[in-house]
């Protein structure tokens, strides 16, 4: 048998079993802390890197209204990144370290953002499918066991619903438009469908972290279950648009009360995770460049703060 359980471990385990939240100052196993740091950091990085494919279309949005919406959405993603970095920091890792680990490739972000946005319809497809998949995951994470992460998720979910709706509305507008616009919408669905399904991660049978994460209630629903949920929800939405999902094996299974779907290309998934997707290098290079080009702003803000503080100290001294 395993070594005797310490009092600390027993208290932690009891908190998890009661469905209570673990809070930052509570004792927790190192592996629980590290798993949360890894997952929250990856989530934060995804929000931040996720701004890039969408920013690509801000200057070319088809109308002022769409442009304002897209700017607001990209700004939300920056905000979501910050909520999550704050949550990760409560685990004792610094913001600086998190950013550094992203820049040096030691922490990852969602592979979906390593695909390019080739047309305006991609902005619709991202909102509808990518944000839709993210929401399925994030709704589950509102019940995750680490308090600050769960609270960040509640805030993010509240804001995320507009993201998906604006995306679907773009798809709806295109699908009711000209022949070319319909084709553009179909092309975007064709390219984003499979990568969106991959967002839920490898199948449960091959997911290294799932079992422990479920036991600790960090994850509350498995990858495969979430994926199925997403497919069941999305297929009727595609039908409404009059677009076809690029999967010849997709059929409704009366017995299971779910859609059956085709084989996901996991070789592609792993290739992108390992850095060989279409945009991996460009995404990180752009992130690092933005960080470096912003250095003077951070320096100036720091210098200004120091100057104001010393001026105030002088005034107090003189008074």
């Amino acid at each position: 048998m395993t070594a005797a359980v310490t009092e600390e471990e027993a208290t932690f385990q009891a908190t998890i079993e009661r469905d209570d939240k673990v809070e930052p100052r509570d004792w927790m196993p190192d592996a629980y802390r590290e798993t949360n740091i890894r997952q929250i950091a990856q989530h934060a990085h995804s929000e931040v890197i996720g701004m890039q494919p969408e920013r690509n279309w801000i200057t070319r949005a088809p109308s002022l209204k769409r442009k304002a919406i897209l700017i607001a959405k990209v700004q939300d993603e920056a905000g979501h990144g910050l909520y999550l970095y704050s949550a990760a920091e409560t685990l004792g890792i610094s913001r600086h370290e998190l950013v550094h680990q992203l820049h040096t490739g030691r922490q990852k972000y969602s592979s979906i953002f390593n695909y390019p946005t080739l047309s305006w319809a991609d902005i619709g497809a991202i909102g509808w499918l990518v944000d839709g998949a993210a929401i399925a995951n994030q709704i589950m994470l509102q019940r995750t066991s680490y308090g600050p992460y769960a609270r960040a998720m509640v805030r993010i979910c509240k804001e995320e619903s507009f993201h998906q709706r604006q995306g679907y509305e773009i798809m709806l507008t295109l699908s009711r438009g000209s022949v070319e616009q319909r084709a553009m919408a179909q092309d975007a669905l064709d390219r984003w469908w499979w990568p969106s399904l991959m967002m839920f991660g490898p199948p449960d049978s091959e997911s290294t972290h799932t079992e422990q994460s479920m036991a600790w209630k960090i994850k509350r629903v498995s990858n495969d279950e979430l994926r199925q949920q997403f497919i069941d929800m999305t297929v009727p939405q595609a039908e409404y648009l009059g677009l076809s999902i690029p999967d010849p094996d997709l059929t409704w299974n009366e017995e299971r009360d779910h859609y059956d779907f085709g084989e996901i290309d996991w070789d592609e998934f792993w290739a992108v995770v390992k850095g060989n997707g279409p945009m991996n290098r460009e995404r990180i290079a752009h992130k690092v460049a933005a960080w470096e080009e912003g250095a003077w702003v951070r320096e100036a803000a720091g210098t200004h703060a120091a100057k104001v503080a010393s001026r105030r100290a002088d005034e107090r001294g003189a008074a």
């Binding site: 930052p24 704050s86 890792i93 600050p148 951070r298």
Partner: protein, 115 residues
């Protein structure tokens, strides 16, 4: 890698006190937002900023993009002191055995009406 458990109110404080020119030398601020007049300020999260003015400005951008607030407090994280969770039992348990502080402890006949 080892992680130092934060010391203050469950939030890290000077863990990242690197004095470089970048933002990692900036202090951490806790943000409290009053949602509407008449409500308390409630903890919303935290952020890094070089000074109080920037902290307030950033708090507005990060935590009130949808008119979630009519007032914001920012407090240096290092100025927040909290009860150690290990002491929580000694601190709060004594109140559990004083049920006479609650109105339901007292039996009032139905005939008396609402009280």
């Amino acid at each position: 890698m080892s992680y130092s458990v934060p010391e203050i109110a469950g939030e890290p404080t000077s863990a990242d006190s690197g004095e470089g020119p970048g933002s990692h030398g900036w202090p951490l601020w806790e943000v409290f937002v009053r949602q509407r007049r008449g409500l308390n300020h409630v903890h919303a999260g935290s952020l890094h900023a070089p000074d109080v003015e920037t902290a307030l400005q950033n708090a507005r951008d990060v935590y009130t993009r949808r008119v979630e607030g009519v007032s914001i407090w920012v407090v240096p994280s290092s100025e927040i002191h909290a009860v150690d969770p290990d002491d929580a039992d000694d601190m709060f348990a004594p109140f559990a055995d004083k049920p006479y502080r609650h109105p339901t402890f007292y039996e009032i006949p139905d005939e008396v009406g609402h009280m």
